[in-house]
Symmetry: C2
Subunit: 363 residues, 2 copies
């Protein structure tokens, strides 16, 4: 399958941002800020060529670029969009070599937008792929990790001119060092990491992410225009299903060690009256428990959207009284392997529940 | 004044180690481990040429090398002596340039020995100078900071193959990032930092440190052989004076955020019977309070030695029942400036006392 989207420009960026916010499963940072960064860069420097993974040369040299930190803080301390260039430059200096393509680390929110901004500013093509096929909160949680590809050497920079080049024995250690430094940087930092060849990207990432985001965003908008149910359309694009609809009645959140963690409760409406849904999140929505039954868990996707408009809601924008629908959808198949579940399954995050692939026969 | 010591070899290394442990004012790490590292390197690779600062070419290129972390942990996790070469190599790669000389960051304990080991292993000369003229617990607390010389780019490595290159806007920020990473590395790390020219070393460091350490160690040994008072001899070499003699009756210590912190109390003996001394330390001995009077504070030197033999005692080896003498001695004059006191005075460490230069007329 070849992607239909050939470039990212002002005509499609907001649709892509909308779709990637849904893929972000509540995390990945504020989509509005990310979209502004990408739009500003495109306006200044022109559209970004989006390269299908099949068309990337084997010997291409690429980094993933993005932002690390607590989304709640990103909202208060928005990046200028230029810090990521400093991160790229620092890592290029480490290698003594310029990159040929920009890559995306996660499909969600701001981190789907930063690579667009970086590609526009540097005049480089963007590879239509990402490391997760959704968003996850830690930097070792990328498919390349499953193939033994190192996240490091990586660069981490802030707006105060601080820059770290980190090289570690494991991607888990890279996460630990980068997380500590991010906290020191004021809970957000820009990074460039996972140096890879074109062949590695094709082999070890989730392919055609931007195309998927565009299709989700487009389906959502078309459903609204045509007065069809946007929730059902989004669920169909994701190959998933609506699992709940209700009103937010309780939220607890805290920013801890560079993460936004918390729980929310929804009381059912309509079809779900008399039932409740509990959401556990750590940047992303990770476990959905309906009444007493765990219905969806990480690594499968839990997407929260406005029950009427289908507009996605992130974990930080979750508020008392919102009427939301919850969509469950399958993750990339490689996350469902024993090695995948070891690094992104519910047990890793400390949740005491077993992973059952969604949709299961019980839904 | 030109130094008398021209090289460091097996004939003088233990005397230098003894003297530098006194200059370490209780910190700088275990002197025994440091001496072993330096002796092993000299045995394997030969003596180290010690270069008087006056003889260092202006365009020499040098880093300081040493270890960061809690001395209490260094004792449990001794370095192999080769990690510092990894730190130097990583920083040389950052600059794309080899260093011509090795420099010493602090006069105390293990960090006076690591540069000797590094110089021996790399076949490089060692500059007879250091950044403090004593030991201090944080990496911005070097005289070069007062002259606006940057600690970064710096490298930080551990024995597990983790390596960070840190570049910051301020030396205080470098301390924060490196301290966090050190904690992540298991509370100790090897580092190379303060890239300087020969002209900068001559201008902005404490000159002829190794020569001073050798003279202190030699005076101590000669006093023992000649049955003179070793405490008085050491105090004379330091230009200071004995301020107390007594028995350790109380010690509290904790390893916190990569530091060894604590307090000790001594009950007076002999001349000081009926009096007490309280010592506050944070890696180094920082405040000495006799009865209710603050007698010596950082940045002046507080050296604790065995009351009979003059053998120095570090903050980690302080034990109940030890009979010790306390020596106060003046620090390098630049530390006494308002800018110096701002970064190493008692207020910086959170002690509620004013700095009065020692010896004052009251002693």
């Amino acid at each position: 399958m070849s992607a239909t989207l050939k470039q990212i420009d002002l005509s499609n960026i907001s649709t892509i941002a909308l779709g990637s916010t849904i893929l972000g499963t509540g995390g990945g940072g504020d989509p509005y800020i990310g979209r502004l960064m990408a739009e500003t860069a495109i306006r200044a420097c022109g559209p970004v060529p989006l390269i299908d993974p099949d068309d990337v040369p084997d010997d291409a040299f690429t980094f993933m670029v993005g932002m690390m930190g607590a989304p709640a803080v990103i909202v208060e301390k928005p990046p200028s969009g230029l810090e990521c260039l400093v991160a790229i430059e620092a890592l290029e200096r480490r290698f003594g070599r310029k990159i040929t393509h920009i890559s995306c680390l996660e499909a969600g929110g701001i981190n789907a937008m930063i690579p667009i901004a970086a590609a526009a500013r540097l005049g480089l093509p963007l590879i239509d792929a990402d490391g997760m096929g959704r968003a996850f909160p830690e930097l070792q949680m990328l498919l390349p990790t499953l193939d033994g590809i190192r996240a490091t050497p990586m660069s981490l920079v802030d707006e105060k001119g601080n820059c770290l080049i980190i090289e570690t024995g494991t991607n888990r250690a890279a996460e630990a060092f980068a997380r500590n430094a991010t906290v020191e940087m004021g809970a957000t930092a820009m990074l460039a990491f996972y140096p890879m060849s074109g062949a590695q990207v094709r082999q070890s990432t989730v392919l055609r992410t931007y195309d998927m985001a565009f299709r989700i965003g487009r389906a959502l908008r078309e459903a609204r225009t045509a007065h069809r149910d946007p929730v059902a359309e989004v669920a169909a694009q994701l190959g998933g299903a609506a699992i709940f609809s209700g009103k937010v009645t309780d939220i607890r959140r805290r920013t801890l060690a560079g993460f936004s963690r918390g729980e929310a409760t929804l009381d059912g409406l309509g079809l779900w009256t008399g039932h409740s849904l509990r959401l556990d999140f750590q940047n992303e929505f990770l476990v959905a428990t309906r009444d007493e039954e765990v219905v969806v868990t990480t690594p499968d996707l839990i997407c929260m959207v406005d029950a009427q408009t289908g507009e996605p809601v992130t974990a930080e924008t979750l508020r008392y009284g919102q009427r939301l629908a919850a969509i469950g959808a399958p993750c990339h198949e490689r996350w469902r392997s024993p090695e995948g579940l070891k690094i992104v399954g519910p047990g890793y995050f400390g949740y005491d529940c077993r992973y059952t692939p969604f949709p299961s026969s019980r839904v």
